[in-house]
C-alpha cells in the first residue's frame, strides 16, 4: 500500500490545497509542502530500510510490489513495483517537488489553489510513472502527467506561453501515441504467441517475435522516450517549454519530466527488446553525441538565461542516452547519477534564474545582467556553485555520473566515448559564460539590491549538500541501484543468443563498480 500512498499523497494534497486556497493561502502552501515532504519522507524511510544496499538473495530486486486487477477483460492490472532505480527516482521526485513548491511560495500571485493542485498532480503522476509496471498503467500515467504541465505552462507561463504549452503537449502526445501503438503491438504479439493477453511487464519480458516487428516496436518505445528525454531531433519543445514555464514548471520539467524519458529507455526499451535495441545502440549513441554537442553549442549562443539552462539539459541528457545504450553496469550507474544530480542542479539553476528575474523586472535576458556578485552575494555564490557543478568539476555529483558514463561507453565504443568527452570542454565554456555574464564584470544595469530570502537560502543549501554528497560519496547511491541495474542486465543477457562481446568486468556480472578505481 505504501506505493499507492506515494502516488496518492500528492494527488490528495493537490485537492486539499485547491479547496483550502479559498480560505487561506498559507494553509495551501503548507499542505503542498507537507505533501511533498511526506513523499520524500516515505521514500527516505524505504531507503533507510535498505541502508546496506539491496540484497538480492533475501529480497529479490523488488523492494515493494502491489498487484490488483483493474480491467481484467483486457489483461490490464494495477501493478506497481519498486526496485532501487524506482526508489531513487521517487526520492528525486520528492526532493524536486519540495524545491518546486517552496520556490513558488512568493512567486505565484494568481489562482494559487489551482496552481498547487496542478503542480501536485503532476508529481503524483510522475511518481506513478516511476512505479508502474503494467504497460497500460504506465501509459495512462505517462499521458496524465502532461495535462497538469500543460496548465502550468499555459496559465502561469511567460509572454509566449500558449505557443509553448501547445507545442509541448503535441510533441509529448505524439510520442505517447506511438508508445501506445508499440505497447499494443507488443501486447498482441505476446497474446498470439502465448494466448495470454496481458500488459504485465514481467510477462512481456522475453517475448519472442519477428525481428522486423521487434524493430518497429522498439522504435516506437525509443521514439516516445527520446521525445521526453529529449534528444536531437525531437527536442524543439524543450527550449520553449522551459523558457515559458513558471519557475515551478521549469523545475518540474527539467528536474523530473526529462528523467521520465531516461527511465523509460532504461526500464522498457532495452529490456523488452534486448537484441534489437542493442543492435540499434550505435544509432542511439550517435544521437546522444549529437545532442551533447548541439545542446552545448546552442546553450552558448543564448542570451535568455532560462533558455540557456534549457539547452544545457539537452547536452546532459545526451550523456544519459549514451550511458543507457552503452548498457553496462558502469555506464548505467553513471546515467542514474547524472539523472539525480542534473535534476537537482538544474532545478536549483532555474530557481536562481527566477530569483534573479524578480530583481530585474521579470527579465530573463542576460544583456540586462552582469556584476551581480556584490549586490546579491548569496545568489551569486549559489549560482557559481551550481554552474560549476553542471560543468562537471570533480567533487560534484554530476562529475561522477559523467565520468562513469564515459568509462562505460569507452568499453563498448571508444570512438563515441572520446567524442562525448569533447562535450566536457563545451560545458566549461557555457558554464563559465553564465558566471561572467551574470555575476562578474561591472554592474551596469538597474537591479533591486536584495539577496536571497531565508527560504531560498535553505533550498539552495540543501541542494548543495545533496550535490556534494553525491560527488563525495556516490557509493551510497550506487549500492542501492546496483542490484536493480544488474537485474536489468541479466534480463537482457538472458535474451542474447551469444555472450556479449564486452568484457565481463564491464557488464558487471563479476565485478561490481566499487571495486574499480
Amino acid at each position: 500500500m505504501i506505493l499507492v500512498w506515494l502516488m496518492l499523497i500528492p494527488i490528495i494534497g493537490g485537492v486539499l490545497a485547491w479547496i483550502f486556497a479559498r480560505w487561506s493561502l498559507r494553509l495551501t502552501h503548507w499542505i503542498s509542502l507537507a505533501a511533498m515532504a511526506a513523499v520524500l519522507g516515505l521514500a527516505l524511510g524505504i531507503w533507510g530500510q535498505h541502508w546496506d544496499g539491496v540484497n538480492l538473495s533475501s529480497h529479490g530486486v523488488w523492494l515493494l510490489m502491489l498487484d490488483k486487477p483493474w480491467i481484467p477483460r483486457l489483461g490490464i492490472r494495477f501493478l506497481l513495483a519498486m526496485d532501487g532505480i524506482s526508489l531513487l527516482l521517487v526520492l528525486l521526485t520528492g526532493a524536486v517537488g519540495l524545491l518546486a513548491v517552496a520556490a513558488s511560495w512568493y512567486i505565484v500571485e494568481k489562482r494559487e489553489g489551482f496552481f498547487y493542485f496542478m503542480l501536485l498532480w503532476s508529481f503524483g503522476a510522475i511518481v506513478g510513472v516511476f512505479l508502474a509496471l503494467d504497460l497500460f498503467l504506465f501509459y495512462f500515467l505517462w499521458e496524465l502527467m502532461i495535462v497538469p504541465l500543460y496548465f502550468l505552462i499555459a496559465l502561469w507561463g511567460n509572454e509566449n506561453r500558449r505557443y509553448a504549452a501547445i507545442k509541448f503537449f503535441i510533441f509529448t502526445q505524439v510520442g505517447g501515441l506511438f508508445l501506445l501503438l508499440a505497447t499494443l503491438g507488443l501486447y498482441f504479439a505476446h497474446g498470439r504467441l502465448t494466448g495470454v493477453y496481458t500488459f504485465d511487464y514481467f510477462q512481456l519480458l522475453g517475448t519472442t517475435m519477428a525481428p522486423a516487428l521487434a524493430f518497429w516496436l522498439m522504435l516506437g518505445f525509443f521514439f516516445a522516450f527520446i521525445v521526453k528525454l529529449p534528444a536531437v531531433p525531437v527536442h524543439p519543445w524543450l527550449p520553449d517549454a522551459h523558457t515559458q514555464a513558471p519557475v515551478a514548471g521549469s523545475v518540474d520539467l527539467a528536474g523530473l519530466v526529462l528523467k521520465v524519458g531516461a527511465y523509460g529507455l532504461l526500464r522498457f526499451t532495452i529490456p523488452l527488446f534486448p537484441q534489437t535495441a542493442l543492435a540499434f545502440a550505435p544509432a542511439a549513441m550517435v544521437l546522444a553525441v549529437i545532442s551533447i554537442y548541439y545542446g552545448a553549442i546552442l546553450a552558448f549562443a543564448q542570451t535568455d538565461l532560462k533558455r540557456l539552462i534549457a539547452y544545457t539539459s539537452i547536452s546532459h541528457m545526451g550523456f544519459v542516452l549514451l550511458g543507457i545504450f552503452a548498457w553496462n553496469t558502469l555506464s548505467l550507474q553513471g546515467a542514474l547519477l547524472i539523472v539525480i544530480s542534473h535534476g537537482i542542479t538544474t532545478s536549483a539553476l532555474f530557481i536562481l534564474a527566477g530569483v534573479i528575474a524578480r530583481r530585474i523586472h521579470e527579465s530573463r535576458s542576460m544583456d540586462r545582467m552582469g556584476g551581480f556578485w556584490p549586490v546579491m552575494p548569496h545568489v551569486a555564490g549559489s549560482g557559481s556553485f551550481f554552474a560549476i557543478a553542471a560543468l562537471g568539476l570533480p567533487g560534484f555529483g554530476n562529475f561522477i555520473g559523467e565520468i562513469l558514463v564515459l568509462f562505460g561507453a569507452f568499453a563498448v565504443s571508444p570512438v563515441f566515448a572520446i567524442l562525448a568527452t569533447g562535450g566536457f570542454v563545451l560545458s566549461v565554456i557555457y558554464a563559465l559564460r553564465i558566471l561572467q555574464r551574470v555575476f562578474f564584470g561591472p554592474l551596469t544595469n538597474p537591479v533591486e539590491p536584495r539577496d536571497m530570502t531565508g527560504l531560498e537560502t535553505v533550498l539552495m543549501g540543501a541542494s548543495m549538500a545533496v550535490i556534494l554528497w553525491l560527488g563525495l560519496y556516490p557509493q551510497s547511491v550506487l549500492n542501492r541501484t546496483e542490484s536493480a541495474v544488474l537485474n536489468l542486465q541479466r534480463i537482457v543477457h538472458r535474451a542474447m543468443p551469444t555472450a556479449p562481446a564486452t568484457p565481463a568486468a564491464f557488464t558487471g556480472e563479476k565485478e561490481a563498480p566499487h571495486e574499480l578505481p
Binding site: F140, A154, G185
Partner: protein, 485 residues
C-alpha cells in the same frame, strides 16, 4: 406477431405511444412543464422496458426487426441520450419562450426512428427508420423559425438528406436486383453466392455506403455538417451528433461487419479513403474555426473517421471498440453541447469562442465540464475518451492496419491543437479584450431550475468514472458484441 414479439418491441412501442400521448396533451392544454415531464416519463419507461426485452433477445420480430442484445444495448444508449437531450431542451426552451412544446414529440419520433435503425434487418425497416429520423430532424433543426440560420440549416438538411435518401434507395434497388431479396440475411447469402452478379450487387452496396456516409458526415459527404451544427438549436445539435450518428453507425456494424467488408477490395478501399479523408479534413478544417459549434462539427467528422479505422479492423474486437467509443462519444458530446446549451441566451446560442474566454473564472463548473469533454475528445487519461481511443487503436493494431493507425495518431495530434485552443480560451484572462464575458442567462420563470446542472453533473461523473474504471462497461459491451456473430 404474438405476445413475446410485442414484449420484445416494448421499448420502441412505448416511445411511439409517448409521442402520441404528448401530442394529445399539447392539443388539450399547452404546458411546457407537463410536456417535458410526460416525455421524460415515457423515455424512462421505455428504458425500463429494455430489462424485459433483454431476456428475450435474440428474437426476430417479423422479417423487419431483430431484437438482439446488440439492438437492446443501442436502443438503451439512444434512449438515455434522448433523455439527456430532453432535459437540456427543457432548460433551453425555458429561456427562449415561444411555442416550444412540439419539439418533444418530434424528438420522440426521431428516437423511435433511430431505434428501428439499430434493430433493422430489412431494407424496408432500414428506410422507414431512416426517414422517420430524418423527417423529424428537418423540423427540429428549423424549429426556431424566427432565426434565419435555423431555417437555412433546416432547408439545407432537407435537400441534402433527400438526395442521400435517393442514393440509398437506388443502392437498395440495385442490391435487390442482384440478389432478389431485401433482407439482411439474403444480402449476406448473396455476398458469398457466386451466382450473384458482382457489379450491381457491390455497386448497390457502394451507393448505400454513400447514403450512410452522408448521415455520418464522412468526407466528401460532410458539407452540411458545420452549417447544421451551427444553425440547429444547441440541444438538437447534441441530438444529431449523438443519436442520429450513433444509430447509423450501429447499422453500419450490423450490415457490413458480418458481410466481411475486409474481403471485398473495392468496398474496403472506399472505407479506407472515407476514413483517411474524414480524419484529416475534419481536423484540418477545425483548426481555423472560431465558432465552437462549428468546431465541434468538424471534430465530429474526424471522430467518425477514427471510428472507421476500428470498423475496418472487422471482427468482434471491432464491434466492441466501436461500441465503446460510441458510448464515450455520446457522453462526451452531450457534455460539450450541454454546456453550450446551458450557456445559450434568450436570442443567440453561445457559440463563439470569444464567448468562452475566461469562462473558468465566471462559471468554474461549466468550464470544468467543457474541459473534461474536450480532453475526452482528445483522448486524455481520466476521461472516457482515453479508453475509447485506446480501444480504437487496439482494434486497428490487432488487425495490423498499421498505416491507418499511424494516420489516426497523426491526425489526432492535429486535433489536439484546436481542443487545446478552446481549453486555453476557457482559462484565459477575464480581462482579455476579445472576451464577450458571457454568463448564464436566467430564465423568465424557470420551470426546471436545476435540470441542466443535474444533467451536466451526471454526464461529467460518468465521463470520469468510466475514464477511471471502465471494466463493467467493457464487460457488457463484449456480451452485446458477441450477438452480431
Amino acid at each position: 406477431m404474438n405476445y413475446p414479439d410485442i414484449i420484445a418491441l416494448l421499448p420502441l412501442i412505448i416511445t411511439g405511444v409517448t409521442a402520441v400521448l404528448v401530442l394529445i396533451e399539447i392539443g388539450a392544454f399547452r404546458n411546457h412543464r407537463a410536456t417535458v415531464v410526460l416525455t421524460l416519463i415515457g423515455l424512462a419507461l421505455a428504458f425500463a422496458a429494455l430489462a424485459v426485452s433483454w431476456p428475450l433477445a435474440p428474437r426476430q420480430v417479423t422479417p423487419l426487426l431483430r431484437i438482439d442484445r446488440f439492438a437492446v444495448f443501442y436502443i438503451g444508449l439512444l434512449l438515455a441520450a434522448a433523455f439527456a437531450v430532453v432535459m437540456l431542451s427543457a432548460r433551453y426552451w425555458d429561456r427562449r419562450g415561444g411555442r416550444r412544446e412540439e419539439s418533444y414529440p418530434l424528438l420522440l419520433l426521431a428516437v423511435l426512428g433511430a431505434g428501428i435503425l439499430v434493430a433493422n434487418t430489412h431494407f424496408a425497416s432500414f428506410f422507414l427508420g431512416l426517414e422517420l429520423l430524418s423527417v423529424s430532424l428537418y423540423a427540429l433543426i428549423a424549429y426556431q423559425y424566427t432565426r434565419v440560420q435555423s431555417v437555412e440549416a433546416g432547408i439545407k438538411y432537407l435537400v441534402l438528406a433527400g438526395m442521400s435518401s435517393a442514393f440509398l434507395l437506388f443502392g437498395m434497388a440495385l442490391a435487390y436486383a442482384a440478389t432478389g431479396t431485401m433482407s439482411l440475411a439474403g444480402l449476406l447469402a448473396g455476398a458469398t453466392n457466386p451466382a450473384v452478379p458482382a457489379l450491381p450487387f457491390y455497386g448497390g452496396l457502394g451507393l448505400i455506403i454513400a447514403g450512410i456516409s452522408f448521415k455520418l458526415a464522412l468526407v466528401p459527404f460532410h458539407f452540411w455538417t458545420p452549417d447544421i451544427y451551427q444553425g440547429a438549436p444547441a440541444p438538437i445539435t447534441a441530438f444529431i451528433a449523438t443519436v442520429s450518428k450513433g444509430a447509423i453507425f450501429a447499422l453500419l456494424l450490423r450490415y457490413f461487419i458480418p458481410l466481411g467488408v475486409l474481403h471485398v477490395t473495392p468496398l474496403y478501399l472506399i472505407f479506407v479513403i472515407l476514413s483517411i479523408l474524414s480524419m484529416f479534413i475534419g481536423n484540418l478544417l477545425a483548426l481555423r474555426e472560431r465558432n465552437l459549434k462549428r468546431l465541434l462539427a468538424y471534430s465530429s467528422i474526424a471522430h467518425m473517421g477514427y471510428l472507421l479505422v476500428a470498423f475496418l479492423a472487422g471482427g468482434q474486437l471491432a464491434v466492441t471498440a466501436v461500441t465503446f467509443y460510441l458510448l464515450a462519444y455520446f457522453i462526451t458530446t452531450l457534455g460539450a453541447f450541454g454546456v453550450v446549451s446551458e450557456l445559450s441566451g434568450r436570442e443567440e446560442d453561445a457559440e463563439l469562442l470569444d464567448d468562452y474566454r475566461g469562462l473558468a473564472w465566471r462559471h468554474p463548473w461549466m468550464a470544468g465540464v467543457l474541459t473534461a469533454s474536450l480532453f475526452s475528445l482528445a483522448g486524455i487519461p481520466l476521461t472516457v475518451g482515453f479508453f475509447g481511443k485506446f480501444y480504437l487503436l487496439a482494434a486497428g493494431v490487432d488487425a495490423r492496419l498499421w498505416f491507418l493507425v499511424i494516420l489516426l495518431v497523426i491526425s489526432s495530434a492535429i486535433g489536439l491543437v484546436y481542443y487545446l485552443r478552446v481549453v486555453f480560451a476557457l482559462y484565459g484572462s477575464p480581462e482579455d479584450p476579445l472576451a464577450t464575458g458571457l454568463v448564464i442567462t436566467p430564465a423568465h420563470r424557470p420551470a426546471f431550475p436545476y435540470l441542466g446542472g443535474i444533467v451536466l453533473a451526471a454526464l461529467a461523473a460518468l465521463l470520469l468514472w468510466l475514464g477511471l474504471y471502465p471494466a463493467p462497461a467493457i464487460r457488457v459491451i463484449e456480451i452485446i458484441a458477441r450477438s452480431l456473430f
